[in-house]
Amino acid sequence: MRIVSSTLILAGFLAASAPAWAAPGEVKVGMLTTLSGPGSSLGIDVRDAFNLAVKNLGGGLGGLKATVIEIDDQQKPDVAKDAATRLIEKEKVDFATGIIFSNLMLAVQPSFDRAQTHYISANASPSQLAGKQCTPYFFSAAYQNDNQHEAMGHYVQAKGFKNVYLMAPNYPAGKDGLNGFKRYYAGAVAGEVYTTVNQLDYAAELASLRAANPDAVYVFYPGGMGVNFVKQWEQAGLKGKIPLFGPGFTFSEDTLSAMGDAALGTLNTAQWSPDLDNPENKKFVAAFEAAYGRLPSVYASQAYDAAMLIDSAIRKVGGKLDDKAALGKALMAADFKSVRGNFKFNKNHFPIQDFFLREVIKDGKGRYLNKKIAPIFQDRGDAYVGECSM
């Protein structure tokens, strides 16, 4: 009978998958990141670098067998929110990481807080979570959103530019970014434009920019947005006419080859560069290139460190993942060797580290990459730590 058969079909669907607990001696990590669309170059680097670290550690983290559950957030807050619930309630992950974009981070962090699941950020690190909304369950293995921009603001100020035009996508990290820049740059702002996230045609904005006649332009455009902006900048004939600056996000190895010569020679700032001279970094860059056939980006370096941080913390608590307080302490100790060299946590769980000026170059093998030019900040924390009550 049809009624009975449809009931049976439904019951079959419901019973289809088995419950998902981590077995003892195992650690489950939720990798919630952007794997499709214009922001995917960042997410793919984060995922690949994290997996590389796990592989180099012998398929585990802190001596436990590691399972990494991958979900594509499609760079949509609603999708990320659902995925976080799924990772917490269905997969029952011990750690989560991977979110690229700060708007998604802010949407999901309350879920991880409530579940008391430690989130180790490999990228998104919004000011809110560094300040008033700081929480014991969020650690940033990357930076605070403002940092790279602060470093460039410092440089542009020192170089004596007086009338700079600013552009960023309209989302929390975009605002953090331009705030960070203006914290160190004291000259006039020729224009401050926030474009829609993932806008790809900048013709209208470039026309207004040209009309404003600035003496320099500073743009924060990660991923595909950066590729299009930089290419259209060149097509509009602006390259070489007005100096263009950006944070390391805009000129990062994940997109440099797509930008091609259009980005050559641009200066940017970051806490990492592929040519940083320390043994961990050399090993990381070589292993990444061997495994994936491309150079790692700053995002990859952050994800690699995130995995190493988790590894160190699990080791410290002897694999006991249930004692959340002890685990939090172990994470705070940051007892691992970062590919950036200098790395420790501030009391708000955000890093204290160094920032460099980098230049986009083309090397002998025809690869586009960044080269470290000069140090800018040493032991830089962030501007919001005072607002954090932890």
Partner: protein
């Protein structure tokens, strides 16, 4: 300076307009002649962009890639018409919406499986990479002018074809009275397949050109699809002339709203707030335009039928 800026933004608006026209021309014919709501028209735009990128890279020539992509997508369009769309002619609009909604899902996922979820960045040909000084102080990218020129040329060509050729006559007959045209001996089935292929080819041209300005990615068809429907409804279903006027109107309104509103709103609020509100209001501007036009002329500017 103000005059140059205004001209430049006007050109940007026109460029969006011609892209919309290439999409709307096919859609309005399918809509008007076959009476089919074809939601998956954006998929041909997307496939056109992907094929242009792949073939362009294969033969190391963007123009050759585009030239090959157009007939290929037209062929794909005819196959889709023959397999699925043909069965929808006698069905009501709801079935058409549903079936073509399913087609969008299929094409998006299939393209994602073949080409991956990462966008492809397509560069215009080297020969068109420079800028032109249109009026003193106004530098405009050559390639964007080429898009504009191509779009307007195709529009003129379509107009001539519809007014002066036998095919055009049959199209006009089909659009105004399908049954009568059939009774007078027009091969309706063949005509429909051809119209569908033509529409798909035009969409591929639009996609292949827009891919260089935007990026080639899964889902790129949907963002333009809805705007295209707005154009078709504003212009009047089935009217090529309406599609042209509607497309230019929508392109200009969208671009001008996008550049003027932030300036106006900045006087009263902070930059990021102003840009956000401006983005939201300018995105709604074309829908307001459509509702106003429909309130004034329920069948669109040049619409003959509902």
């Amino acid at each position: 300076m103000i005059a140059q800026l205004f001209i430049e933004q006007g050109l940007n608006g026109l460029q969006l307009g011609v892209t919309l026209f290439l999409m709307a021309a096919g859609l309005t014919l399918v809509f008007g002649i076959m009476d089919v709501i074809h939601l998956s028209h954006g998929s041909f735009y997307m496939i056109g962009a992907y094929l242009t990128a792949t073939l362009g890279a294969r033969f190391d020539s963007y123009l050759l890639g585009l030239a090959l992509a157009i007939p290929l997508v037209a062929l794909i369009g005819m196959v889709v018409e023959w397999i699925a769309i043909r069965r929808l002619y006698e069905r009501d609009h709801l079935d058409q919406v549903l079936a073509t909604f399913g087609l969008i899902m299929f094409f998006n996922e299939a393209i994602g499986m073949i080409w991956g979820a990462q966008p492809i960045f397509l560069s215009p040909p080297e020969s068109l990479a420079g800028t032109v000084e249109l009026v003193p102080g106004l530098f405009y990218p050559q390639f964007r002018l080429a898009i504009l020129g191509t779009g307007l040329t195709v529009a003129a060509g379509l107009g001539l074809m519809i007014r002066h050729t036998r095919l055009g006559m049959r199209l006009r007959a089909g659009a105004s009275d399908r049954a009568m045209a059939g009774a007078l001996g027009v091969n309706i089935d063949g005509l429909f397949t051809m119209v569908f292929g033509l529409g798909a080819g035009l969409a591929a041209l639009a996609g292949g050109m827009a891919g260089t300005v935007l990026s080639v990615q899964v889902g790129m068809g949907e963002s333009i699809l809805i705007l295209t429907f707005v154009v078709v409804v504003i212009g009047g279903i089935g009217s090529i002339k309406g599609a042209l006027v509607g497309a230019i109107l929508v392109g200009l309104v969208d671009t001008l709203a996008r550049t003027m509103l932030p300036v106006a709103l900045r006087a009263t609020m902070a930059a990021s707030q102003a840009d956000s509100v401006a983005a939201s209001l300018s995105s709604t501007s074309v829908y307001v335009l459509m509702i106003l036009v429909l309130a004034w002329r329920p069948k669109g500017l040049y619409g003959a039928r509902t």
